[in-house]
């Protein structure tokens, strides 16, 4: 089910809230949330509820088993738990990719294996990472194995973050599975963030999609202007799409008494690729840091080992996003920039000034998005050629021209401003009126006084109305991160 679909907004969400708040005890509330989460998942993937339930049960017992072991047996138990989780992910997500890759390599030797035709269960990458987080935290002793199956089910299947995150580490949320506070104030604050996320998705990201789609889906040899317009549109689309979804999830989390972690912090203000990854998909970056990068040695083994670790982590990060060579290359692309910054590039950037550093980071990130969005390397090369002017600097072709509506251009300009504009001044004071108005589409605002409260509430109401109106005429495109 999509957060931005009429079924969710007009039926599922109000019914969920009424049912949840009408349920008397915390434990019953948890059961209601689990049932709602399973229904939410079944709505999109009826036949894969079994995979989700299997993951919950498997990790529940795996953690109990790990906790009861010591020494080598404990390590072995963890290995088995990791293997079980990763095997399911590998089967559904990577088996076909591996088979196709093998067939391509083995073709000269007339060897081939059959390519499995499996449908990818929605959100499998996210709920598998939740399961891994739980068993690893128990293994490390940072959390105790939970005897209550319903709490593990809620941790893994909680519907606001089930299919596209944020990825919450178990030890960060364990307490909230048992003790949660509810109030109308919290529910109001959460729904306000939810509406802002909805507006980011529907009013900005979806309006940028035609420009990005025109470049990546229709133009074969984009000129300079076409390539930059389309790439900028996609860079902003994926940010507002994913940040919008994250805000909707965070908002719903607050409504139900949870505190999901912030997932984005103005990533397009970064002045290096390293800083970008501290601001982009923060929950995933932290997951990889805590459960992969640091255990591999992190930056403790000298510069070369650090670079190796970064390349491996980002190669896997690319693979996590999708079973395709373009995602692998996208991961390596970022890994290479991070490694280069570790080797000295970052020090060099300090000397060239803030704007040059920002420009470098944006070029690296946008160049990466070309790989991320292109269906194959040939298409990515064509867009890269366009970006450097190798396909000419001529006028827009009919595809881009057709998508270049004033509304889409307006969305492009608005999104560009919102993506880089801070809403609180550097000294910590509240921003001026113009910025505060703009900040209505941001998640954090501290309305000061009656006027501020009125303005903020009015802005939220307008955003909700505009988003619903836009949805009424739309086709409810899915969130981009659903496919990962």
């Amino acid at each position: 089910m999509l957060f931005s679909s009429p079924t969710f907004l007009f039926f599922f969400l109000p019914a969920s809230l009424i049912l949840y708040f009408a349920t008397p005890t915390r434990r019953l509330k948890s059961l209601v949330l689990i049932l709602l989460s399973l229904a939410f998942y079944a709505w999109g993937e009826p036949w894969f509820v079994g995979v989700l339930v299997g993951s919950i049960v498997f990790n529940y017992f795996a953690a109990l088993f790990i906790e009861g072991q010591q020494g080598g047996a404990r390590k072995l138990a963890l290995g088995a738990a990791l293997g079980g989780n990763l095997a399911v992910l590998a089967l559904f997500k990577y088996a076909a990719f591996a088979a196709r890759s093998f067939n391509a390599v083995a073709a000269p030797a007339n060897m081939a294996v059959s390519v499995p035709n499996l449908v990818l269960p929605l959100g499998i990458s996210f709920f598998t990472f939740h399961g891994l987080s739980y068993v690893i935290d128990v293994y490390r002793g940072r959390a105790t194995a939970n005897r209550r199956l319903e709490e593990i089910a809620l941790y893994i299947a909680f519907f606001p973050q089930l299919v596209a995150g944020p990825i919450v580490r178990y030890n960060a949320i364990a307490r909230r599975l048992r003790v949660r506070r509810h109030s109308f104030g919290r529910a109001s604050a959460g729904l306000r963030i939810f509406i802002i996320g909805l507006a980011q998705k529907v009013l900005i990201a979806d309006q940028l999609a035609p420009l990005a789609g025109a470049l990546f889906d229709h133009v074969r040899k984009p000129g300079l202007g076409e390539a930059w317009t389309g790439t900028l549109a996609y860079s902003l689309q994926i940010y507002f799409d994913f940040a919008g979804y994250s805000n909707m999830a965070i908002g719903l989390g607050i409504v139900f008494g949870f505190s999901l972690p912030r997932n984005f912090n103005l990533p397009y203000r970064a002045r290096s690729v390293t800083e970008f990854w501290r601001r982009w998909h923060i929950s995933l970056t932290r997951w990889f840091r805590d459960y992969l990068y640091v255990p591999m040695g992190g930056n403790r083994g000298g510069r070369w080992r650090t670079c190796r670790n970064l390349l491996i982590v980002f190669l896997l990060c690319g693979l996590w996003h999708g079973a395709s060579w373009t995602f692998v290359l996208w991961g390596l692309w970022h890994g290479a920039f991070l490694a280069a910054e570790r080797m000295g590039l970052r020090k060099g950037l300090v000397g060239v000034g803030a704007i040059a550093g920002w420009a470098y980071a944006m070029l690296a990130v946008m160049g990466g998005w070309v790989l991320f969005r292109s269906p194959d390397l040939t298409a990515a090369l064509s867009v890269w050629s366009g970006l450097v002017g190798l396909n000419g600097t001529g006028a827009f072709g009919p595809e881009l021209k057709g998508a270049f509506e004033p509304l889409h251009v307006g969305a492009l300009v608005t999104a560009s401003v919102l993506a880089v504009m801070p809403f609180v001044s550097r000294r910590g004071r509240s921003a001026g009126p113009a910025r505060r108005l703009v900040s209505a589409v941001r998640t954090r605002i501290r309305p000061a006084g009656a006027l501020g409260t009125l303005l903020d509430t009015g802005a939220v109401a307008v955003l909700l109305i505009l988003a619903l109106v836009a949805l009424s005429g739309g086709t409810y495109p899915p969130f981009l991160y659903f496919r990962f």
Binding site: M1, S5, P6, T7, L9, F10, F11, L13, P14, L17, I18, A42, W43, G44, P46, W47, S183, F184, G185, A187, S188, G190, L191, R192, I195, V255, G394, A395, F396, G397, P398, K401, E405, P406, L407, G410, G449, A450, L451, T453, L454, T457, V460, L464, L466, L468, V469, A470, S472, G473, Y476
Partner: protein, 371 residues
């Protein structure tokens, strides 16, 4: 004032939930409609109770479609949506299909040009330059070259036009293109007079599709072979046995969303009772594998002249079967608004080259170089 509003703000959640419930409660209280007049579409029906596991699997999608089409206030919201978009300068996409005289559907693209209501001299000049350039290249290589523009439905059946579209009275882009290409020495066929004259023999253009019928195509073929100086390749309509058959595709009906109705019947020629059936189309060796550059050839070559036709949907289904009995090889490549793979000449070594395109396709892509 702040203390006055702060306690009220905590009730925002209640207001939001009430606002979100309004469309659902309103929907449950009203009678569902079958069609949305403003959108010109059939609305999703109420999902039937599932009777099998497969039905159960489809139920969420069917419910989403139903809710999306029937939630309360959808009509006013759609009006507001359209109004806001218009104010923001968004042009509504034109309907691809125009309802013509009773029984006729017409393709919107190119309709106004066809009746001379949208003279676009620059576009005609660009296309004429493309044809003249191609003609000069063929002349230099010693290959007979023929250019044929296949008129649109409106040019042959002005009675099919809707009331608001008047038939052409002055010079149309078709006329101008004929003049420009003849001026540069290209042999150019004007099919309009012959087609109009043959209307009494049977339907020449489809009513629910944007192309001509096989009967119209045969007349066009005869005009082309005559202009090539090969009247011996002519096929007289009475040499074929004509049988009325349901059309395989009605592109306009599909675009208009009424393809489920009974398909249009067309007269199909059965020529092969007395002439050899053409071999199956084969890919042209070495031509890049690009769907936009669809190309194929019929016949092994060697036993007669080789023909290369640069064409579109008007010629692709018919010309291979008309040419096949007379030529050693017939090759066909898609014309994509002045674009096609130029290596096709080396790969097919044609004795004759024909550029035959529908009137609406006789344009180069905007802002793109020809070739």
């Amino acid at each position: 004032m702040a203390p006055l509003f702060a306690p009220l703000r905590r009730w925002l959640a209640v207001a939001i939930v009430a606002a979100l419930m309004f469309p659902s409660l309103g929907m449950l209280a009203t009678q569902p409609r079958a069609t949305g007049a403003a959108e010109d579409k059939t609305l999703a029906p109420l999902p039937a109770p599932p009777r099998s596991l497969a039905d159960l699997g489809r139920l969420p999608r069917a419910t989403d479609a139903y809710v999306g089409d029937h939630f309360a206030l959808r009509g006013p919201m759609l009006d507001l949506y359209g109004g806001v978009r218009r104010r923001l300068g968004v042009r509504p996409p034109p309907d691809p299909v125009v309802q013509g005289a009773p029984g006729w559907l017409l393709l919107n693209d190119g309709l106004m040009r066809s009746i001379g209501a949208e003279p676009d001299e620059a576009a005609i000049d660009r296309y004429a330059a493309f044809v003249c350039d191609l003609g000069a290249k063929m002349k230099a290589s010693g290959k007979p070259f023929l250019f044929a523009v296949i008129p649109g439905t409106a040019a042959i059946y002005p009675e099919a036009l809707p009331a608001w579209a008047k038939p052409a009275v002055g010079r149309t882009p078709y006329d101008v293109l004929q003049t420009r290409t003849r001026d540069c020495g290209v042999s150019s066929v004007d099919m309009r007079r012959a087609l109009r004259a043959a209307k009494e023999t049977g339907r020449l253009y489809r009513q629910r599709d944007s192309h001509w019928t096989p009967r119209g195509a045969l007349i066009g073929y005869n005009l082309m072979v005559s202009a090539l100086g090969r009247p011996d390749w002519t096929i007289l309509p009475n040499e074929a046995e004509w049988r009325s058959e349901p059309a395989i595709e009605d592109d306009l009906a599909k675009l208009a969303g009424i393809a489920e109705r009974a398909p249009e019947a067309v007269d199909m020629p059965h020529l092969f009772a007395f002439k050899a059936a053409p071999a199956s189309p084969q890919p042209i060796p070495g031509l890049r594998d690009d769907p936009a550059q669809a190309a194929f050839m019929v016949g092994p070559g060697g036993r007669g002249p080789s023909i290369l036709m640069i064409g579109d949907g008007y010629t692709r289904p018919f010309m291979p079967m008309f040419f096949a009995p007379f030529v050693g090889r017939f090759s066909w490549i898609a014309h994509r608004r002045c674009g096609f793979d130029p290596t096709v000449f080396d790969r097919t070594t044609p004795d004759y080259v024909i550029l035959a395109v529908g009137e609406r396709e006789a344009r180069c892509e905007d802002g793109r170089p020809s070739g």
